[in-house]
Amino acid sequence: MAHFTKATSLHDWLNQRLAIDTLRRVLATEYWIPKNINFLWAMGMVLAITFAFLLVSGIFLLMYYQPNVDLAFDSVNYTIMQEVGYGWLWRHVHGVAASVVFLVIYIHMFTGIYYGSYKKGREMIWLSGMLLFVAFSAEAFSGYMLPWGQMSYWAGMVITNLFSGGSLHADGLVEWIRGDYVPAQAFLNRFFMLHVLLIPLAIIGLIVLHFGALRIPHVNNQDGEEIDFEAEAAKYKAGDKANSKVIAFVNDFMSKDMMVVSIYLIFFFYLVFYHYDFAMDPVNFDPANGLKTPTHIYPEWYFLWSYEILRPFSTNVGLIAFAFAQVIFFLLPFLDRSPNAVPASRRGLFKYWFWAMLIDMIILTAMGKVPPEGLFSAIGFYAALTFIGLWIALPFITKFEKKV
């Protein structure tokens, strides 16, 4: 056992038992951040804060929500919205955060792609981040079920039908997932469990992994410069802060991070108080009805691009294309064969690839929202082909990239 001495203060008492000084050093005051990074690097902190909002607002919603097919709709739309003091606030915070979190995730992802932050030793950061994206998607989908409105019910129907695997007709699997022939009580209960317990646990674990993955390769920077963190940290600690290329996470970098977070929060609460409806589908204000389909079914905006990749093809091809879209981002560090971890603007064809991919995904998103008719379905079809084509081209165009 370690040697304990009589504590001189509460701090000392805790320090002997929990090593709080070491902890603070490792996590904060001697956690090094490069100087040359811009506001896009604050998205991690923005996400952490948004996740905290989701957690807290979710806890309050959980106290009044009823996971029962007969009561769920009213418990959300009547009890929480009308009766519970400030219940509307938690719901709007929860709904807006669930939508905005994806906007920030996409910015975070494309920042990583643009600056090559998934390359050379940072593959685990990328992979754990993509796992987080999947977990957030599952979390969003299971949460969408809970108000048990029309869109909830039919989204549940359509998405679980995907598991029948097209011509494989694995209807038994679909019924097993639902616990019934159609989405019903068993389905609502198990998605409730997933939404409030299992997936959040997974998300928290993955966040720890994602942060841990950052520890050794350190965070990338705007120029893709390889920084000798130890040497630079030594300079900083010796007092030569001006010449050191790094700064401490706390307080130096935090102050900048928090600046971005503050601006974000103004935008966030503007949405919560004045535009919460953008995150709420009007169709979901009709109670679920298994005998009537809404005329036009579409997912929330953040899933539209992958939904649109599924849509223009026949069932089987569509499913394969959809599966492709779900996994392909994971492979990015291995498909990008170039040795450069620099901003896309300083690379070869990759700079066009980046913008083409971004624009293509925006087009897919827009086409996923409109009814699949005429010109729109044609545009959607070609955009889906472009998406697949771009990924196939990636290893070839990056292979011949010159080292910069």
Binding site: A184, R190, G290, L291, K292, T293
Partner: protein, 176 residues
């Protein structure tokens, strides 16, 4: 040396016990997610086929799913008889022919709407269409509307039970 092999053995023995336990608990987890017996028992519905009107779509409910019942008019029956593939999809109860199908699009499960003038179904989700026998006439749906398991019992139709007529449809590939 002796010690080592003894530890090795204990390790393997523990591994085996843990492996059996893991498989058994996975099985228990799988079974816990199965539909409950009460859900399965509620899977039968009886329809009185003498109550329907010609060319008027009625939506019944079976296992929580919508069931389309469309009594064929004489002229529709005649049209269907010209095409053996169409008449095979219809169920004869008494003297009349009926289209009885699960009212969920075979593409992704939306409910198609019936237009009695054009005698066809349109699935608004992705634009699939079906004719008055439930056969698909325009993709993306990969096949005609599925026919639920049924048994003919005089003028009644029991959904959820597999009668000889249904078994034959399954064999000939008319339905799944």
């Amino acid at each position: 040396m002796k010690n080592n092999s003894r530890r090795g053995f204990m390790g393997k023995a523990f591994g085996a016990v843990a492996g059996v336990g893991a498989v058994a608990s996975l099985y228990a987890m799988k079974r816990s997610w199965d539909p409950l017996p009460s859900v399965k028992a509620a899977g039968f519905t009886t329809l009185d086929m003498s109550a329907y009107k010609e060319n008027e779509l009625v939506v019944e409910k079976w296992r929580g799913k919508p069931i389309f019942v469309l009594k064929q008019s004489e002229e529709m029956t005649k049209k269907a008889q010209e095409n053996p593939k169409d008449i095979e999809r219809l169920i004869k109860v008494g003297d009349a022919y009926f289209m009885v199908t699960i009212g969920l699009c075979t593409h992704l499960g939306c409910i198609p709407g019936y237009n009695s003038e054009e005698e066809s179904f349109l699935c608004a989700c992705h634009g699939g269409t079906y004719d008055y026998t439930g056969e698909v006439t325009k993709a993306p749906p990969p096949r005609g509307l599925d026919i639920p398991p049924f048994k003919i019992d005089g003028m009644k139709l029991v959904l959820g039970e597999e009668g000889p007529e249904y078994k034959k449809m399954k064999e000939t590939g008319v339905t799944l």
